[in-house]
Structures are given as C-alpha cells and as structure tokens.
C-alpha cells in the first residue's frame, strides 16, 4: 500500500488500527454502540448521541476463542467478528445492536449478548418480507428500538434529532456514491481496493467525521489524470458482506479493476437513502426494508418469474451497464444461507445479460488466498481470451 497524504492516509490509519478512533472518542466520554450488518439503523444511534460502530472481522487472524460459546457452523464472518470481540478487541463498546438479518446473525444474538455482557444490547426483530403489512410492523420494531435506546441514553430521541441524523447519513451516503462513481471512468480514478479501505474506515467513525473524511478522499482522488494505460478487465464483485480488502486486492493484483460491487459495505448499503418523512421512522423503515436489496429480504412476487428476477437482481444489471463491467465474481461464504440459496438464480441472471460469472465459495480466511488467486487469474485469462 502506497502512503499518500491527506484523506487516504487517514483511511489507512483507521484500517490498520480498526477502532482506534472509537477508542479515542470513548476516552472523551462518547458512548459507542457496536453493530453487525448493514441493517443496524445507524440513524437512530446517531440521533441518540452515540457513535454507531460496525464490528469487523479479520481474515488474517485465526478464530481461536469464539468456539467456546459459538458453533463452527455459523457464517465465518460472524464467527470472526465474535472472536475478536471475545478477545477484547472491541472493549470500548457500550452497547450492541443486532438486527434479524440472517440465521447466523439472528441465532447468535443471545450468544453475543450473554457472553459480552455489555451495558446495552438490543435485537431488532426485522421482518423478512418487504410487503406493506411487514413495513407497518417494522415501524413498530424501530419504535421499540428508539424507545429502548432512548431509555439507555437517558432522554427520548426526538423527531428533530432523528431528522438531523437522517440528513447526515444521507449526506454521507451521497459522498460514498460520489466516490464510488469515480470508478465509472476507464481506468477508474479510484481502485477497488482504495474504495474498500475507505468504506472500512468509515464504519468505525462518527458520521460527521466520515463526511469530512470522504470529502478529503474525493478531493485527493478526483484530480487524478485518467491515464490511458494498459487495458484491464473491469470486474464487479457480488456477494454478502465483505469487510476486508484482501480479496479485492487479490483481484486487482491479478490484473483487473474492481469497478463495481453489490456488497456491504458497498453499494448495497450506500445507494439507497432514507426519505425525509413527516414521521422520520417511515422513511427509515422504507429504506431498510424495501430499498436495500439484500438476499435476506424476501421480495413479494408480483408479476411473472422473469419480472420477479428483474425485481430482485435488476440493480446488478444496472451496475453492469452503468460501470461497463466485463465480468462478475460471485463471492459467497460457506454457511451463508440467504446468499447461498440464490447462487443458481443470480448466476444465470447475470449470464443471461451476456456477462461471464465466476462463482467462489470462501471461508473468510487468508489461508484460501492461494486457491482463490488461481481461480481469479484463470477467470481473467478467460475474459482476456474472449
């Protein structure tokens, strides 16, 4: 990693010592609320005056302590997060918020809660369907959380503070979209690895700091000349959560650009905004339940099956066109039920657009890098030979 001045330097710092900023803030008396997954309604945490912090795993650290309390049949990313938490890596947390995302997350809530014993924990019982009755219910769930967190904060979370937080997070997302959009040019102005690192960095800092950090990064990256160098294949990565840059780096080291993604952190979580609504909870509920497109949410089938596929995966096709993607890598973890079951459908959907797909099943561990490299390189050779 080359050391650059400004925004990217700070990004590197936050990535290298993940959580260092939260630790500092804690020292200054801020309260830090940890969460797993893109379904934690960070706006509510920000509105309560707390710092939302996304718990991250580590592909380079062996999972050694998690197994005492957690089965090995859990998604390896969640296990790794838990392992680091048990090892005390996130000792600065005051609370934990876990949404009902997938089985690996939902079923481990109690394990997290009872093992870590933090002053605050809350489970957001998010429904699985996106229809309107589910939306209504989900609003009550968000209100329960709002009330509960307000109790912990010692004051109610007002509509005003919530609206303020929503605006901030929308602005933050707009910045991410702007930054990620710089990958449209050929070659992209920002590499996939750099973007991945920026997104990791901002998982660990308050939203206002994130906005300014992203501003710096954009200012730094934008003036880069769109040099016409060697042509490289433009790759999109589609998958579940990817909170580590190792895999993206591997792809780019093999001679490609990662120009688009359907991942979180990534476009999945930063593309949709929350609308400003009279009751702020309404806009939030719609954003999380209906706008974020993740395999864990069941989209109600309205039309024919091809229409249904378009409803579920159309956004992927959109990115492929918009970012001139040459090939898609479908990257799924072992034991991930929501994404695992979608592989045949999503693979054939993308292939039907004429875009080749490489499907990889991985374990969230650096040990698989060698195996992955050969596959990625072979895939790039295939693309090159076309």
């Amino acid at each position: 990693m080359k050391v650059e001045a400004g925004g990217m330097a700070l990004v590197d710092k936050y990535c290298q010592d993940y959580g260092s900023r939260a630790r500092e803030l804690k020292g200054q008396g801020r309260k830090i609320i940890g969460g797993l997954c893109a379904y934690v309604p960070v706006e509510i945490i920000t509105a309560a005056g707390f710092v939302p912090f996304r718990i991250k795993g580590s592909v380079s650290e062996p999972i050694t302590r998690a197994d005492v309390e957690m089965e090995t049949i859990v998604c390896p990313l969640v296990r790794s997060c838990f392992d680091l938490a048990v090892k005390g890596r996130y000792e600065f947390l005051d609370g934990l918020v876990i949404p009902h995302a997938c089985d690996s997350i939902c079923r481990t809530y109690d394990v997290w809660k009872y093992t870590l014993g933090l002053p605050y924990s809350h489970f957001i019982n998010m429904p699985h369907s996106d229809n309107d009755t589910s939306l209504e219910f989900y609003k009550t769930v968000l209100n329960t959380f709002r009330k509960s967190l307000g109790k912990f904060a010692g004051r109610e979370i007002s509509d005003d503070s919530l609206l303020q937080a929503i605006k901030q997070h929308n602005e933050n997302r707009a910045r991410v979209r702007q930054l990620a959009g710089l990958r449209r040019s050929d070659p992209p102005l920002i590499s996939g690895e750099e973007l991945a690192r920026a997104l990791i960095a901002i998982m660990s800092i308050p939203v206002e700091e994130s906005i300014s950090l992203l501003g710096d990064v954009i200012a730094e990256v934008k003036p880069r000349a769109s040099a016409t160098g060697v042509e490289k294949p433009r790759i999109m990565v589609v998958g579940a959560q990817l909170d580590d840059d190792t895999f993206i780096r591997l792809i780019e080291d093999s001679g490609a650009w990662v120009v688009a993604d359907d991942l979180c952190p990534g476009t999945r979580e930063f593309w949709p905004d929350a609308d400003i609504t009279a009751d702020p909870i309404d806009g939030l509920a719609e954003r999380y339940l209906q706008k974020i497109k993740c395999a864990r949410t069941y989209r109600e089938q309205k039309g024919t099956y091809p229409e249904y596929l378009e409803e579920r995966f159309g956004h992927i096709g959109g990115f492929i066109r918009d970012f001139a993607v040459d090939g898609v890598i479908l990257y799924i973890y072992k034991y991930c039920d929501p994404f695992g079951f979608e592989v045949p459908a999503v693979k054939s959907y993308i292939e039907s657009l004429g875009t080749p797909v490489l499907y990889l099943e991985d374990e969230y561990s650096k040990s698989t890098i060698g195996r992955l490299r050969t596959r990625v390189q072979a895939f790039l050779e295939l693309l090159g030979a076309k």
């Binding site: 990889l360 099943e361 195996r371 050969t374 596959r375 072979a378 050779e381 295939l382 030979a385």
Partner: protein, 280 residues
C-alpha cells in the same frame, strides 16, 4: 532457425518441464518438495541438458501451476486452467471437457475452439484430489500404481462414508484392520473420489469428448470409477502429467506468434536462469 519454447508446470506435488519446437524435445518430471519449489531452475537446467540446448536458445518461457510465481526466469505466468486447456486441445483436438486431477486440487474445464470458456475447481475439502489418493495408498501400504491395478480385481463394493481425507484414511485403516480386502477398499476409495469429482464437474454440464488429465489420470481404477459415475466414456490424455506444461509451452508459442503478427516486440522477463529468492 528452430524456435524453442519451454513450459514449466510447478504443481503442488510434481514439477514438470517440457521444451518444444514443433514437438516435445525434452521433458523432465520431478517432485515438488517444499524446497524444490524454489529450484525450478534446476529442473529447467536438466531439461535443457536433455535437449542439448542453452537457456538462450529458448524463445519464450511460460510458467504455470501452483508454484508459477516462483519461476523468476519465466516470461509469463499463466494459470494451469488455461494451460491444461491449451495442452489438451492440442493433444486431443476433439476434447470439449477436461477433467484434471492434480495433487492438491481437481478441476473441470469446458473447451470451445481450443480455448477454456468455463471452469470449476474443488473448493472445500481435500477429498477428491490426488492427495486423497496418496494418503490412502500410503495407508494401504501400496504405491499409486498398485492401488489402481488392484482395484480392478475387486469383488465387492465397499462404501467409504467419510469425505474428509484424514478421517477417510482412518476409516480405511479401520476397515483394513477388520479384514476387508485391500482390493475392495481401493475400489471404495476410487468411488468416493469419483463421486466428489463428478459432483464438481457436473456444474459445467459435461460434454463429450471428455479428457482426463493430471496425475490422477494415471490411475486406471479411478478413471474407471469416474466413467461409471459420469455415464460417459473417458479419454485419457496421452500426456497426463505433461498436458499443463505442454499447454504452457504452446501458449508461449502463441504469444510470440501473435506479437509477430501484430508487429510488436515480445516482452520478456530477461531474468537469468536462477533460483527464486524470497523477500521475507
């Protein structure tokens, strides 16, 4: 002047080098011990000696296989997928599907017009690889060849239920201890591996002709078991161990030819023939 091309295939278990002009002029196969991996130069030297050539006579060197990055003197690294595809396509032009059973992994490759268009590799467990065979052969006290032949004499079907290499080994040992015939165990093992391989290559929608290559192709018992599973006749590559290295040499040749056609110079690594050094 004849142009020579070298293909260096550093596999997980075996290192293979071929030097080709229009045909293969030299071939060397050695083990890829952990240390030998950095000594690709020695294998290359011995191939050059066989061919009676010097390193400067070689127009282009392509390295492939698991250890391809550790060949500093290669002009280009290409994955074993592309190399096997190229090699098999030239050895067996009718091939549409390639099944390569190597030491640490197993792959299926779909060919179209002599090029790889799709592939799969085993992901999860070591089961279904040459390593599995070796481990079991060792447990049975047999060489790989012996195990292959013996399996053809089996009278009974034995199921090996464990897919994990390590536990399958123990299962085999226990069965052996119970007095199950070695030939039957060998068949059971071949069936177990064939099942794993079949499950994987099926993802490609296998089309004839199907060519098996890699060290595993040398094992007749395994090839037989795989044929049964697939329900298709299989062709064994005429050069099972060397397909990858031959493909590498041919891809080198292609590179030089393409460059000549386009009238651009070939970029070469210009590294001398020396052992790999590591930054640690």
């Amino acid at each position: 002047m004849t142009e020579y091309f070298a293909g260096v295939d550093i596999g997980s278990t075996m290192t293979k080098v071929v030097i080709m002009a229009d045909a293969v002029v030299a071939r060397v196969v050695g083990a890829s011990g952990p240390e030998h991996r950095r000594l690709a130069n020695r294998v290359m030297e011995s191939a050059l000696a066989d061919a009676g050539l010097g390193f400067s006579d070689i127009a282009y060197v392509v390295a492939t296989g698991y250890g391809r990055i550790n060949v500093p003197f290669a002009d280009r690294q290409i994955t074993e997928i592309s190399c096997h595809a190229r090699g098999v396509a030239s050895l067996v032009p009718a091939a549409r599907t390639v099944i390569d059973i190597g030491g640490q992994d197993c792959k299926g490759i779909k060919l179209k017009d002599g090029r790889a268009v799709d592939f799969v590799m085993n992901d999860k467990c070591a089961a279904g690889t040459g390593r599995f065979l070796e481990v079991i052969a060792e447990a049975l006290g047999l060489s790989l060849e012996e195990m292959g032949e013996l399996s053809l004499q089996s009278q009974h079907d034995i199921e090996i239920s464990n897919t994990c290499t390590v536990f399958a080994e123990q299962e085999v040992v226990a069965k052996l201890a119970e007095g199950v015939a070695v030939a039957d165990l060998a068949v059971g093992v071949h069936k177990a591996i064939a099942t794993r391989i079949h499950g994987m290559v099926r993802r490609l929608k296998v089309e004839r002709e199907v060519v098996v290559t890699g060290g595993g192709a040398l094992n007749t018992g395994l090839v037989r078991a795989l044929e049964t599973k697939l329900g298709l006749p299989l062709l064994v590559s005429p050069e099972p161990l060397l397909s990858g290295a031959i493909g590498a040499a041919l891809l080198g040749k292609d590179t030089v030819r393409d460059a000549a056609e386009k009238g651009i110079p070939v970029t070469r690594s210009r590294q001398p023939l020396k052992e790999a050094t590591f930054f640690s």
